[in-house]
């Protein structure tokens, strides 16, 4: 299978690989996928004043899965948190020219974004209710 240049670029030079402190109250963590299915993505965001100031990922998966999560972190950085929820898997498919057999990689990336944002929101809500 031939990879698109953008997939190869993200694979060779992945953006934002790493981890944020998952116990930090400003950090949201999403972990999706399953090892038996051949892909697991961990995506983390750091939020200040409702803006995503940092994003990191780690991915176990094929080149397209790595590229999808790498691209997701790139797109998330600097975005207001609610706009992050607007990223659709189809945007990722288009940007990386993913073939049909790799569409599930983009779906997983969208799920990871949502999971990370929801995790952050959940934490924020808990802190608020604890303060009440």
């Amino acid at each position: 299978m031939a990879y698109s240049d953008k997939v190869i670029d993200h694979y060779n030079e992945p953006r934002n690989v790493g981890s944020l402190d998952k116990n930090d109250e400003n950090v949201g963590t999403g972990m999706v996928g399953a090892p038996e299915c051949g892909d697991v993505m961990k995506l983390q965001i750091k939020v200040e004043n409702d803006v995503i100031v940092d994003a990191k990922f780690k991915t176990f998966g094929c080149g397209s899965a790595i590229a999808s999560s790498s691209l997701a972190t790139e797109w998330l950085k600097g975005k207001p948190i609610d706009e992050g929820l607007n990223i659709r898997n189809t945007d990722i498919v288009e940007e990386l020219s993913l073939p049909p057999v790799k569409i599930h990689c983009s779906v997983l990336a969208e799920d990871a974004i949502k999971a990370a944002i929801n995790d952050y929101k959940q934490k924020a809500a808990n802190i608020e209710s604890a303060a009440d």
Binding site: Y11, P14, V40, K42, F60, G61, C62, G63, I66
Partner: protein, 404 residues
Amino acid sequence: MKTPIYMDNHATTSVDPRVLETMLPYFSDTFGNSASRNHSFGWQAEEAVENARGQIARLIGADAREIIITSGATESDNLALTGVAEFYKEKGNHIITCVIEHKAILDTGHMLEQKGFEVTFLPVDKHGSIDLDELADAITDKTTLVSLMAANNEIGTLNPLKEIGKLTREKGVLFHCDATQGVGHMDIDVEEMNIDLASFTAHKIYGPKGVGALYVRRRKPRVRLSPLIYGGGHERGMRSGTLNVPGIVGFGKAADIMHEEGAQERENLLVLRERIFQGITREVEYVYLNGHPDTRHPGNVNLSFAYVEGESLLMGLSDIAVSSGSACTSASLEPSYVLRALGVGDDLAHSSIRFGVGRFNTEEEVDYVILRVVEAVSRLREMSPLYEMAQEGIDPSSINWSAH
């Protein structure tokens, strides 16, 4: 050293230059149809084919008259199973094979089931070995054929052909061996091992693609087959069609070289195989060997690199040709059925790489491959959330993952 490096010799091998040289005249001056009985063009072609048939037969200890030329091992496997099942259906409707056989056997078996035959697929242990007692128990008075491979194409595990042949002979059932990967890489002698039919192909032994053989025993017992392809009655009526003369000549030469040099070649491959295995496992942790530790193809190393997905690893080895049992490398999205049958977890099946060392690989190439694999695995593990968990002391298999 030239890149890319080819180390996928179970998929196919390059044509040995000596083989190519032998073939070339049969594309030009000596182009006759070996079935033309009334002129010298035909006679020359026939002589070349018969010479090659002798060379092919000698490689497995058979007689030239027992070699049926086919288009390759897939056709040979189809012909053996279907041909025997159909011809002997009055005697019985049961055949026995194994879950880790090549798809050419498994899919033919499934087709026969559709047609009303009964097929037993024997399980294997964690090394890919069958249990001989289980085989003995599976044979009934309805069984006509046992089909078991010589060497597994993914994990390299060898079957005990001599013991299988002894058993099938005692029980009076035929023994077909898919010897595609085994020929030249292990001892195969159809007399000593009581093999009644054997499939193999030129392109796995440094010959051309598109030409294979089915050995069909002529005496004690004489094996009969219903053909798959009808026509001019070539190949004793078992496989009609004008013979691929240059291909057959090449197959003969490849078999001849293997017969002369195979023993030494196995020694060389073993050295390279151990060098890869040691070189990688010395540098990288969480690496598991798939297949039998000792009883295996001399050129086969199949490793699972935990926490790294196989296709992404192949992508990191862009100047090295190897293959993976990962689902992502196939269209099916299912990981290798062979590794699954061994009880290798799907996570490790996704992480497997098959190295197939061959005649033309060098120590220098092996060292380069080791270096590149170590580098790529380390890089991908830095990127792997599963490796991170393992480092933190969390066993990823203890997590309740949601399958997707």
